[in-house]
Amino acid sequence: MRTASPSTPRPSRTLALLAVAAGLVLTTSGCGGSAAASEDDTFVFATGKDISCLDPHVNGDMPQASIAANYLDSLVSQDSEGAIHPWLATDWSVSEDGLTYTFTVRDDVWFTDGTKLTAEAVKANLDHMVDPDTQSGTAGGYLKPYVGTEVVDETTAVVTLNRPYAAFLEVLAQPFLGIESPEALKRPQAENCNAPVGTGPYKIVDYVPQSRVSLVRNEDYNSAPPYAQHEGPAHIEKIEWRIVPEDSTRYGLLRAGQVDALDLMPSVHFDEAEADPNVELILQDRPGNPTNLILNTTRAPFDDVDVRKAFLRSAYVDAGINSVYFGTVTRAGGPLSSTTGFYSPDFEHVYDPDPDEAARLLDAAGWTERDDEGYRVKDGERLTVHFPYTPGAWPTAHQALVTQIQATAKKAGFEVLIENGDGATVSELGNNFAYDLRADYWNTNTADVLRIVFSSEYTESAGFVPNGSGFRNPELDGILNDALATDDPAEREDLYYQAQQIVSDNALQLPLYNQASQVALRSDRYANLTLEPSLSLPYLYDVTAVDSE
């Protein structure tokens, strides 16, 4: 799933920069606030992005999954190596043709509204995700092969797909596909958006949009996933999930001791936080397709692979990242982030910057002249690259980074026009291939992301077109479909290696940096805040209070 960015719309970019400058003033030493955890045992978590509907089946943006990871359990779980383990489903079997999955669910788990978990819940949830009325962009999008579920008995559900889909279990492990109470799902959508019901360690008691979500411990919790550090109810009684969009404010709250943890840790405060003995940074790159600029291969100039390679060779991404992110993100060079299953490091440095090679490639492609501004010209046409962009949807640092890429591309003779527009305008251009560059990323916990971002199947969509390169390659399509038709890890590894090779050879993307979860915790008060493995989302179930002297 590609999230919109953590940054909120701001009155202007200048003001955003002012905020960063002002944030730098926050450099007195140490944190304020009392060291003891708050009296009433409430853990306050400040999140940087608004949540829409709390039910992660609906829409499907990252903040929804983030809170869902704390009140929903999933059918299966994933470990940090990418392997799949039981969770609400104790076991499952896959038919020979890969089209039928038979799940056995636990018979000792109850939803927090008193409904018992049965095989019926598998059917109700999957049906809910694919129901057009649910308006599910993410969970529903991952379930395109879904045909239906047959409830055999109280604990057995048989799911039928219309094609082999080895990534099925992997996506099921994501909080986006968490299991909700079938009874609660029967309520009107508005009601379920405000108070969805799961079997998880916490339950939602109140939601004030733009302000806070209050959660309270599920005292009967007995279905912890294998990656958890303990079993039974959570250690902390209450959670207040506060929505604080402004970076400096969120960090200020942590320093002043008014919140216990935050996400979207502002890069400008990293050094300070690292030096602070009362703050622990919990950082983890996310699996999926890294933050990138994707090149539209369906029209000139990027319909020519040499021009694409020249563009990649012209971009000094490392230097840009170091100067605007202060080293707080890790560089990505290939089509998969390093935390994705079946990732290969072989493609990290294929297109390291090389101005001479870029010039040679452009000459070979016939862009031999330069005009008086230094841009390459062919048949009287300037080498122009249109880049529709929504500044409000990206962090300030990302905006600075694309500007730097524009500058280094100019040296090679590319005229990159960054054309600012609002989200709807830019996405419409994006869905009609009316651009040369598009800013993208896709967070998901499976190498099958390659199929979503690069296969022919995803060059068309009624909503968002994930394959922004417009690349249609039967060989790649075949490999990616074969990888879904086998569950032999060695075979999948080989197929996904070939797929990464083809994507890299064709220079379809300029990868920039890995998407990351960046969480800060007041370690003088609490410990054991972890990130769940499927999407690296903050997981509060194991958090314990630190005894204060």
């Binding site: 719309p9 009155p11 009325d133 962009g137 604080v244 419409e428």
Partner: protein, 333 residues
Amino acid sequence: MSTSSLDSLSAAPRTTATAGTAGKVIAKRAAGSLFVLWAAVTLTFFVLRLTPGDPITAILGGAGSSPSPETVAAVRAEYGLDQPVLVQYLSYLGNLLIGDFGVSYIFKVPVLEIIGPQILPTLQLAGLALVFAWVIALAFTLLTVGRGRVLDGGGRAVEVFFASLPQFWVGIMLAVVFAVTLGWFPVAGNDGFRSLVLPALSLAVPLAGFIAQVTRSSFEDALAQPFVLSARARGLSDTAVRVTHALRHAILPGLTLSAWAVGSLVSSAVVAEIIFARPGLGRSLVDAIVNRDLPITLAVVFIIAAVYILVNLVVDVLYRVVDPRTNPKGSAA
């Protein structure tokens, strides 16, 4: 800003009940108010609907979801996006007449459920900001006007400086100094009066600069009036003259400015709301525009227009109280 004394003192309200009955005036006013509301909503509707771009992606989970064609079709039908724009507009207007603001595209719940609880926090914020702005502005002008070149010049300079400060920067600075470093106020949130002080101040400081500038020039005019001279001649102290005689005249232009200020405070509240993580209409408006959440955008515009209308009404009444010459039943002008 130097207006002649006559100008500033004859800044009469927009309606005077010199002819006709009160009923006529009220009817006129009501019709005018309805027209303003209709125009605001209509203009916003067409601007948003005719802007290129498709709200569907925003509705379905941001720019990264990949919904099925059935889902997209369902959404289009659900929100009437498959209808001609004119039909959408008429059905929106029809629903508005029965008090139905529709359902948020993003939150999937009735619009009033989302923004209903946000009206009060924003009005509290705007109201307190206005009070702070007036207190700062009056303290300033009373203390510095006509007190000699140094104080006068210094006062002017500070006013210009205040008026030109960006609210965003003031907010961050206040938060850093008074909340994070000194810990006198909460850094963010919406629990009680203490959490309201810093956000209100961040909006009030630039506004105080504006109000003080306007008030200063009318104050200077007022101090030059004959009645001030006669008051002094009767042996009134300088402070008494300033507060009881000149002030009345001096605040009239500021009142007019306040009507505009309240409306703009409601919409510019977004800055304070984002910095101090407060729920509110300003934030709703910005988020709704970015997400193409038409029903929320229209509802917030409607509320801001209504606030404008109400505040103008209040200012007219205050005018009659402060300046009896505009009141036909008051002392003859």
